[in-house]
Symmetry: C2
Subunit: 542 residues, 2 copies
């Protein structure tokens, strides 16, 4: 796979825009605002309050150092360590920080300041943040077409909402997908069209078949011309596309003229393959493949943008997973014509992302510098890798895990862990049947993201009858919740669940997040889950 | 006018909702999030990063004291004084401030903290901000129906965008209106229907005639069932509705079952009537009516909510004019059924306002307390009053102003100031004709808001021919811009300008803002404007 820079410009894809999107005119007030930049101009045009009336003189923050998290589990953390988390400590005073201050008026030219950032601003975002992101995109993603544009938005959910509006008819998506994306399509009468997945995400042969055999009459709509996809650490399944798969999907999209909306919040949480605790210890080497020194070169190879020589990908990035969800800050990278339409949409809705958030996040990034932010991302990645490993270790302690290769279905090509009950040393009176040989659930350890996607083998339940899947899934979910543990119920992630109020799969699922809980709580949750699911599979009647 | 609390619940107005709005389902992930509130629950359901990964340990701000601005011009300001502004000082170090800190983890129960505010949150906004606003609305607006709901949004532009989407067909608005509101309607194929204005805003008799004589056949659409209105310090005209006019408009809306979207960013910038400098000095008494000690009781009387016993008003408030535009923070107050639909819309788009912004703004409000915020608003009001007075004083120094009562048109019932050239002591060689007796422009000093709305008497131009208005307005605007002064061009504020690409008025207009520039710059801008407009009206040819 070459990563050569094609050096071409994006192609004209304006025929994809809906009437709704084309109808967006430039916000007239914003048209006037461009004159504001003239040095020395006396502007009495805008309804702008004087910054003297902004009730803050300055804002300061104690910012974690970029090296806060170790690059490998053996290295001691600068601030929070694995052990601290295990014992439930979340003492912010242990964090190693440096102070930054944002003054009301700039002391140095180009400095982030409140007089500007708390004023009305451009929908494309603050200039300093634009500049930072241009460098970041150039160096990390290396887009394959020249005239790419970056546009700041208020996070990937709003970004997805904005990128869905310009279309019409239907949108291709993975068979399991992010529910808020579907929820935002439906009111605009845009139907999700699910494509089958395997262990590497959306299947290219199924996509090709779907598009080549599309019958507008029986489908009652023309062939879809937009795809919404989460290619890395897919939500909810956790699957991650290989380079080869991405290339196949991209080429099919070129062939059938499909726009790709690439929602990629977990891109920097690529964790490597899971290795069992026994194989990791002693020596405490990191799980999975050793980290390559060319970490981001590897990333370059896996990123779709290297393929996108036509500018048909609208990439959504977010700071939600790398800074904080509450920043409500992300960005589009796409061809300039689409960026212009998205800017028009932003002007008449959110106007611009919050100035407090933009100022603080940009100040942090500029304080860290580009290299510091890369270091921060690498540390985060290791943290999530440890979380993933710890959580699966807990499952391995609670259940008997049997690793088998999957030859078909959503996990085709992956190693699947089948979970059954461990033989108990002391037999409980309430456990009437041994669940020793019964697979209660299975999963593939994710190589990216925040989630373990569990398939519940409800057909192994003593009182199972076909059609009971939803009832049993909900029954188990509720029992867990009543015992103090919340998992993500699987049915909400089915691409057609919201649109047609039906589920597209015949087994139960849970999406379990290892991203947030203290390690001790992850352990406790798995223990409770073990108790509940064993009881559940030993029931004779519903 | 009584302000009795009717104590009734809002009526069912759900028949107004469009298919688009009705089609919004609850975001499935949010449905799960409600369980998060259970004490001690172990949640592995959401894709939430650990707060340990938020790269800030705390955020501090130096917050201006609520008494920063004097209540009357004679009282010395605590921080920035009128004189400092006159001499162009904007030194933040002169501000009297108090430090507040937002820790990552709460030290006191209920304390604003980053672990919560930078996490994914509810679309309705932070609990502490909700609580503050409930008190604020109860005490300041005293809604006349019991079951009102408050919902935080990302500012009035997004709020207007959200409140427009649920409708269909057309929306009643003032003949001059906020352009971004119209720009957000048009792509959804919603037509603005302008209603004539006078000096008190939208005319009730014209509204009654329009609705009673509505012919769906010739109009090609059913009678409008939604009104978008800016009743105080109207943008751009500056007009402010009287209590009686509001009552008339409200009653007509009840009669014809019309929902009122009340966009009220300038509510707290009610400035009283302008009194000329000569009448104000000596003694430096404040311009206009003396401030009543029952300042907010007066506000109670003028607010539409006191009338709204049915819950048909969706009120939009914003912090843009009272804290900072960059906060991108505002709120809806409306009946619970509409609030629920707006919440669904928020969940799948912006999700929640920015956590940095919400945390800092809420921290400021809680630090100030309710009484402190009221004091801050009263000080701001005086500041804008002084700005309005100073700007009109500058016009009075530069032009001969002749006050006449308007008996018809958009200023009916108001005192109009007609501006002509002052006799020059030394006649300039370039000024070939005296503009002494020629009214070049006219205006009504606004009693609220940020703007002076100037009507350009282009028919007094030597080379005027009917139909030239737009050309002449643009010519003068461009000449001003080339000489370093930007005014708001009038044509962009015409309600049908965007929809039909034509202008609805036969004279030129400028919207001039006195809200932002330093006083010295306001003075300089008026001097340049005087020079340019005199030259312009002395031209023989275009």
């Amino acid at each position: 796979m070459s990563i050569e820079k094609h050096g071409t410009k994006s192609i004209d894809l304006s025929h994809h825009l809906s009437e709704l999107s084309k109808a967006r005119t430039i916000s007239p007030l914003k048209g006037v605002m461009k004159y504001f930049a003239q040095p020395g101009i006396l502007s009495l045009a805008g309804g702008l309050p004087s910054p003297a009336y902004f009730p803050v003189s300055d804002i300061s923050a104690n910012v974690l150092v970029p090296e806060s998290f170790a690059l490998s589990p053996t290295e001691p953390s600068t601030s929070l360590s694995w052990l601290w988390k295990l014992f439930g400590s979340h003492d912010a005073t242990k964090e190693k920080t440096q102070a930054v201050t944002i003054p009301k008026y700039p002391v140095v030219t180009g400095e982030i300041n409140l007089a500007t950032s708390l004023q009305y601003g451009q929908a494309i975002g603050m200039a300093q943040l634009q500049d930072f992101l241009k460098q970041f995109i150039s160096e990390v993603y290396r887009p394959a077409f020249e005239d790419w544009a970056v546009l700041i938005d208020t996070g990937n959910t709003d970004g997805g909402y904005d990128t869905v509006q310009p279309w019409r008819g239907c949108v291709l998506c993975e068979e399991w997908t992010y529910p808020s994306a579907v929820a935002s399509m439906v009111p605009f009468n845009i139907k999700p069209v699910p494509v089958a997945m395997d262990g590497l995400g959306m299947k290219s042969d199924d996509l090709e078949n779907l598009l080549s055999q599309w019958d507008p009459v029986s489908r009652q709509m023309p062939r879809p011309h937009v795809m919404y996809i989460v290619p890395v650490g897919q939500n909810p399944s956790g699957s991650t596309m290989s380079v080869a798969r991405k290339k196949q999907i991209y080429d099919i999209c070129v062939k059938y003229d499909v726009i790709i909306v690439e929602d990629d919040p977990y891109y920097f949480l690529q964790l490597g393959t899971y290795t069992s605790k026994d194989d990791r210890f002693p020596g405490a080497t990191p799980s999975g493949k050793p980290m390559s020194p060319s970490f981001f070169t590897l990333f370059h190879l896996t990123i779709r943008f290297s393929f996108d020589y036509q500018g048909r990908v609208i990439r959504l990035d977010t700071f939600s997973k790398t800074i904080a969800p509450g920043s409500r800050l992300g960005w589009f990278t796409c061809n300039p014509a689409f960026a212009e339409r998205l800017e028009r949409q932003g002007e008449t809705s959110t106007q611009a992302p919050c100035g407090f958030g933009q100022a603080v996040v940009t100040k942090i990034l500029m304080h860290w510098t580009y290299d510091g932010y890369i270091r921060w991302l690498r540390g985060l990645r290791t943290e999530y890798q440890q979380r993933r490993d710890f959580f699966i270790d807990c499952l391995a302690e609670e259940f008997h895990l049997h690793a088998v290769p999957a030859v078909a279905g959503v996990w085709e090509g992956c190693t699947v862990y089948q979970a059954s009950s461990k033989v108990k040393k002391s037999t409980s009176m309430t456990e009437k049947y041994s669940a020793r040989d019964r697979t209660m659930f299975s999963f593939v350890p994710p190589v990216a993201g925040m989630f373990v996607w569990m398939k519940l083998h409800l057909d192994q339940h003593p009182s199972f009858a076909p059609g009971d899947e939803d009832t049993l899934e909900t029954k188990l979910w509720t029992k867990l919740a009543e015992n103090g543990v919340l998992f993500g119920p699987g049915w909400i992630f089915a691409a057609n669940a919201i649109a047609e109020d039906s589920h597209n799969n015949d087994s139960g699922h849970f999406r379990v997040s290892f991203s947030n809980a203290e390690f001790a709580d992850l352990k406790k949750a798995v223990t409770i889950f073990g108790q509940i699911i064993r009881e559940f599979f030993q029931e004779e009647d519903l």
